[in-house]
């Protein structure tokens, strides 16, 4: 497709379950970001990939959160032993260039809404 695709769009998990959220960025985009957005808040940075390299994971809230992008395209965000505070919309974004001074437009997916009961 032409845009960033995320799946599933909605996920309900029982506390303690593991979840996996998938992001399919725009073809050829080098940079990929994951953000967590709580209701009524701004997107909070989780992690950043440049191709397959995870260059920044400073925003991951705990070691229960893990992200990968093994072939430099599709990325998966995994959350182990989910807790109620993990409930949020998880946004994926991609951009054509590398980040820093040359960061251009980020293209966001519609997000995966995770509800932990």
């Amino acid at each position: 497709g032409a845009g960033v695709s995320q799946s599933p769009r909605y996920k309900v998990a029982k506390r303690g379950q593991d979840v996996a959220l998938r992001c399919d960025p725009i073809s050829g985009h080098v940079s990929l970001f994951w953000y967590q957005q709580a209701l009524g808040q701004g997107p909070e940075f989780l992690t950043y990939f440049q191709n397959e390299a995870q260059l920044d994971k400073s925003g991951l809230p705990s070691d229960r959160f893990f992200a990968e992008r093994p072939e430099g395209s599709v990325s998966t965000l995994k959350i182990q032993r989910t807790q109620q505070e993990d409930s949020a919309v998880y946004l994926c974004a991609s951009s054509q260039g590398t980040t820093g001074f040359d960061t251009g437009e980020l293209f966001f997916g519609e997000g995966s809404r995770l509800t932990v009961l």
């Binding site: 970001f33 950043y48 920044d56 925003g59 946004l91 980040t99 001074f101 960061t103 980020l106 966001f108």
Partner: protein, 110 residues
């Protein structure tokens, strides 16, 4: 490191103007503005680069004061379609991540 936006919310009538401010305590490479409508993905509006270059589209303008690490987004003659939450994002010098503010909710009434 999160930039601070003000005001938190604005209510306007169609045709009125609005200014949204964004400030950072750190030296910045760039400031980015996005708009998000309820239940949708954030959509890019504009980038302002260190050195004064401005990029964007739509009939919305912005400024970037590098000395003060502040940016302002100007929406003139607002239209109903401008409603949504506006986020500024900043890239701090030496960093690689885009960090967003808490957002400014803009409501345009007919």
């Amino acid at each position: 490191q999160q930039p601070v936006q003000s005001p938190q919310a604005v209510i306007l009538r169609e045709g009125e103007d609005a200014v949204i401010n964004c400030s950072s305590s750190k030296a910045l490479y760039s400031v980015h503005w996005y708009r998000q409508k309820h239940g949708e993905a954030p959509v890019f509006l504009m980038i302002l680069l260190k050195g004064g270059e401005q990029k964007g589209h739509e009939k919305i303008s912005a400024s970037f004061n590098e000395k003060k690490q502040q940016s302002s987004l100007y929406l003139t003659a607002s239209q109903l379609s401008y409603s949504g939450t506006y986020f500024c994002g900043v890239i701090i010098q030496g960093a690689q991540k885009l960090v967003f503010g808490q957002g400014t909710r803009l409501t345009i009434n007919p």
